[in-house]
């Protein structure tokens, strides 16, 4: 695997320290913000609560869709950025290597250590995360969950496959969908996401 994640982390950490005169961080083709993790968890889990028990599946779907659409647009921007072309592209030998570039960027953003466990081109992607901020906080605040709680990472895993195998942007969005088979919020050892074609 030729992708050097430390180079990507270094580029993100250095780039995130540069903002323009408007206090905006333009990095890897997107506008980046930095904020405390509890904000994102509160928004997701309170939203789910407010939607009510009979609509919890609908709430989860909306959060996963929001993340998948974000992941699709974000990583498309990243793929087309000069930073990607300068830093990541020279390390890419085959198409699938891009996924390893994406997971390195996600780790650099503080989303979790997304480890690619299995990748069958155009078919399936299995990603394992041991320190998802969504799972960690959910268990702390709400006790053990009965279903997976990493909505952002679940949507993003599917978005990686959409970008690689979904066809020309932006038509490929939602070609794939992901399930979270195990989640630390449920008491599992790690969180796992399996993206497959819909």
């Amino acid at each position: 695997m030729p992708i050097d994640g430390t180079k990507i982390i270094h580029a993100v950490m250095e780039g995130s320290r540069i903002r323009d005169a408007k206090g905006i961080i333009p990095l890897f083709g997107v506008y980046l913000s930095i904020f405390f993790v509890p904000y994102y968890n509160r928004v997701s889990f309170e939203f789910e609560k407010k939607m009510g028990k009979d609509q919890d599946v609908e709430a989860a779907s909306l959060l996963i869709e929001a993340a998948q659409e974000c992941g699709y647009a974000t990583f498309h921007g990243i793929q087309n950025s000069w930073e990607w072309q300068e830093i990541v592209e020279p390390m890419i030998e085959k198409r699938e290597d891009q996924i390893f570039g994406f997971t390195a960027v996600a780790l650099a953003f503080g989303w979790g250590d997304m480890e690619v466990r299995e990748l069958v081109p155009n078919e399936r992607l299995l990603i394992r995360v041991t320190d998802s901020y969504e799972a960690a906080r959910y268990a702390e605040d709400h006790g053990p969950a009965t279903s997976g709680k990493c909505y952002m990472l679940r949507g993003v895993t599917a978005a990686f496959m959409d970008l690689l195998y979904g066809g020309i942007y932006p038509e490929g969005l939602f070609t794939f969908s992901a399930e979270e088979s195990c989640c630390r919020a449920k008491g599992d050892q790690c969180c796992e996401f399996l993206a497959q074609k819909r």
């Binding site: 982390i9 408007k22 206090g23 905006i24 407010k50 993340a67 974000c70 901020y133």
Partner: protein
């Protein structure tokens, strides 16, 4: 006080930390998608949730930040520090022009959520800086030593509506209630 951003924003193992508190980097696509999902699905309740989540996170975060920067003693230095953090976090520019413990007016000529919203959805008909309102409430509650929920922050003008700047009005919630009764 000059912030040493290289020390403040760092990595702790796999996590990104701001003065040892876990933070995440998210782009405008995600932040605006979350906002739109909550607004479209829950309406006013969703707006309140975005505001309160930002207020709480900002309150807790700045309480820790100020406890680690004991050299910041005056209100002015704390306000300046908060505005620097806002800018360094890529959230935009914020100017605490006329504020005291009773509230005041704050101006933001540029913001992450404004840039993001306009890029994704164009002009709004109603003010949309719910995150910034909550962020302002939380930080002022820490600076002026009040509990979370003490202030009410309204957005009088918003760049998402193509106003020239975002203008936020901060008032004390209890006083507002008393005024309404009389």
């Amino acid at each position: 006080m000059q912030i040493n951003w290289k020390n403040e924003l760092n990595r702790k193992g796999r996590r990104v930390v701001l003065s040892n508190q876990p933070v995440a980097m998210h782009c405008h696509h995600y932040n605006i998608n979350l906002q739109k999902t909550l607004e479209d699905t829950l309406g006013e309740e969703g707006v309140r949730l975005l505001y309160q989540a930002a207020e709480e996170a900002s309150f807790d975060g700045f309480q820790t930040l100020f406890s680690q920067h004991k050299k910041l003693k005056t209100t002015e230095s704390k306000l300046e520090f908060a505005a620097d953090i806002y800018q360094n976090c890529g959230l935009g520019i914020i100017r605490f022009q006329e504020t005291d413990s009773r509230g005041g007016q704050i101006i933001s000529p540029a913001g992450h959520h404004v840039t993001g919203w306009l890029a994704k959805h164009g002009m709004r008909k109603t003010p949309g800086c719910h995150f910034s309102r909550g962020w302002i409430a939380g930080v002022l509650e820490v600076i002026y030593d009040h509990p979370p929920g003490y202030y009410s922050v309204k957005e009088l003008a918003c760049k998402m509506m193509r106003n020239e700047t975002c203008v936020f009005q901060v008032t004390e919630k209890l006083k507002r209630k008393r005024k309404l009764k009389t």
